[in-house]
Structure formats: structure tokens, C-alpha cells
Symmetry: C2
Subunit: 158 residues, 2 copies
Amino acid sequence: MTNHASRGPRPSHFARVPGIDYGDLEDYYGYALRRAQVAAFIAFFQATAGAGITPPRFTALVILDANPGITQTTLGKVLGTARSGAMLLTDWLVDRGLAERRHREHDGRVWGLYLTPRGTSLLERLRRRVRSREKAFIARLAPRERTILKSLLAKLAA
Amino acid sequence: MTNHASRGPRPSHFARVPGIDYGDLEDYYGYALRRAQVAAFIAFFQATAGAGITPPRFTALVILDANPGITQTTLGKVLGTARSGAMLLTDWLVDRGLAERRHREHDGRVWGLYLTPRGTSLLERLRRRVRSREKAFIARLAPRERTILKSLLAKLAA
DNA sequence: TGCGATTGTTATATATCATTACAATTTACC
DNA sequence: GGTAAATTGTAATGATATATAACAATCGCA
């Protein structure tokens, strides 16, 4: 397998700079959410380091695992991207032997997407690593706080 | 002034697709944070529509307002980007007459960054619009929940 | 004085993503 | 049944954001 360890996104640290007046920046929910999300992204990046896996790719693996035979267009909708983007993402997975396209019987236009055994086993490994890393990340919150956070975030996303 | 209304980022909707099994995706804090952050970004985007303002640009305006004479390198640190990125961002602001570079007395390498009157007044207008839009966005949470959310997010970002 | 560090700058590369156009195919409608 | 509209995957193109690396000017320190 090609080594892609050095490629991929490098989440910026976003650390608070001493001596700087942040004005009313902290008052904005968008900024607070962004900062927390970047922290979570750094944790994710550490967990998947070396695999070239980004959040959208991880999402795609999970979705393919739970919805075998899903089409590229639907995958694009789940990811919130255009069809062409879903195709490039699928290409990336297929090129690495993680997923494959199979023709469907009743519709000649459509490819069904499926994880390969290799994709399944990579996903399993990733799940363990991401879960474990998130556990450390979320340890800053008490168990009850975690539940509350989840419910508040869900309300905002709805 | 050039019209940049049609340019800029288009936050994807990220809407939940009916009939799709999301597997354990909802279990991840990173995914929950990302979804909420995208929702906040959409709100921000609506508030600043037509001005070509992105979150980093808004942040830069706030930081310049609160820290007149700040250097590009420091601005880059605040934004979490490389020096070159801070420079391009500064160029963008300068090109639109929102900020200006002034040489500093004791250090010939450094430019101090300052908002122009136009930059100040744009920032004021943006603040009002973003605050107002965020108010509607956060209305999904009860006042007490908002306080809790802020404190939880701050813990995660620390 | 001289050397290393810092700043701004420029050039280059890359990753992500949207837009547009197109062919093949399916669906809807008359 | 036959034709127009819609859908799907694909390819080409372009825009954007941002990192890296190299460089000159300048500063600070030994």
C-alpha cells in the first residue's frame, strides 16, 4: 500500500494567543462551536494518522457499511456534497481497495457501492482508534455533562 | 465597489437523509460537533451574505479592531494559519479598503495592521447582523441551556 | 562586526469542492 | 408505444483555501 502518512489535512491549533484581546469573539456561538470542533478534529486526526482518512471519508465508510448498495448520489446527499464530489471520494476508496462499485440489476445507470473485506476491516480498526481517542478527548467533561452536550448539539443541528 | 455577492463559501446542508442508516455515526462527538458547527456556519453565512465575509475574515476584523497595530504573524497565530495565509487575508482586507498596513517605528520588517474607518463601520454592521442571526439560531435552546453549552464548549476547546 | 532569528513576501503545490456539460438510461406522459 | 423530461455517473474546468519552501530585508545578540 502506498504510504500517505505525510499527506492529508493538518488541523491548525487555534490556540489562544497570550497578550491578544479577543474582543467580543468569545460571545459568538459560532466561534465557540468552531473552537470545540477544531479540538475534536485534532483528536480525530491523531486517531487516524497515517491512514489518509478524513472525516468525510470516515463517514463514507460508516455509511457504506450500514447501507450496502447505496448509490453515489445518495452518498453525496448524506455528506452534503455535490455528485461529483461523491464520485471523487468513491474513486479514492475504490483505488485503495476499500470499496467497490457493482452494477444494479434493474437500473443501468446506477452503481451500488459496497465495502470490500479490506474496507470493512479498516473501518473496524478506525472505529476502535477513533472511539478510544474520543474517550480521552471527552474526559474533560463529567459523564452527565457529556449527555447534556450531546442533546444540546443535536438540538442545534436539527 | 465590486460585487462579490455570488462568490464565497456555500455551506452544505448536511441534512439527514431519510431511509439511510447512520450506523454508529451519531455516537461520535466529532460528528455531533461538526453538525452543530455547520448549522452555526449556515447562520453566519446568512448574516454576512453579500459581503464576501468568511469566519476567518470576520475574526480578523474583530482582532484588528481590538488590537490595532497587530502584526501579520501574530494575526496568523490567532487564526491558526501560516504567515502566508495571514498575508493573503490581509491583502484581501486592504484591497477592499477595510484595513491598512502602517510601518512601525522601531522595526523596519514589521507592518502594523489597522482597520480603516470603512473597516470599522463594516465590522459594526456585521456584528449587529451576526448577533441578530445567532440570536435566532440559539433560540432553539433555553437561556440556561445556552450558558451550559458555552461552558461545555469552552472546556473542550481549552 | 557578524551570525542567527524574525518578518513579510512570493512562488508553488495540493486538496477540496462546485459548476457545467454530456451520454446512457429510466420514468412519465400523451 | 413513443417521445420528452428527469436521473445517474462521469469528465473537464475552475475557484478557493492553505501549506511549504525559498528569499531579501531587518533586527537582536554574542
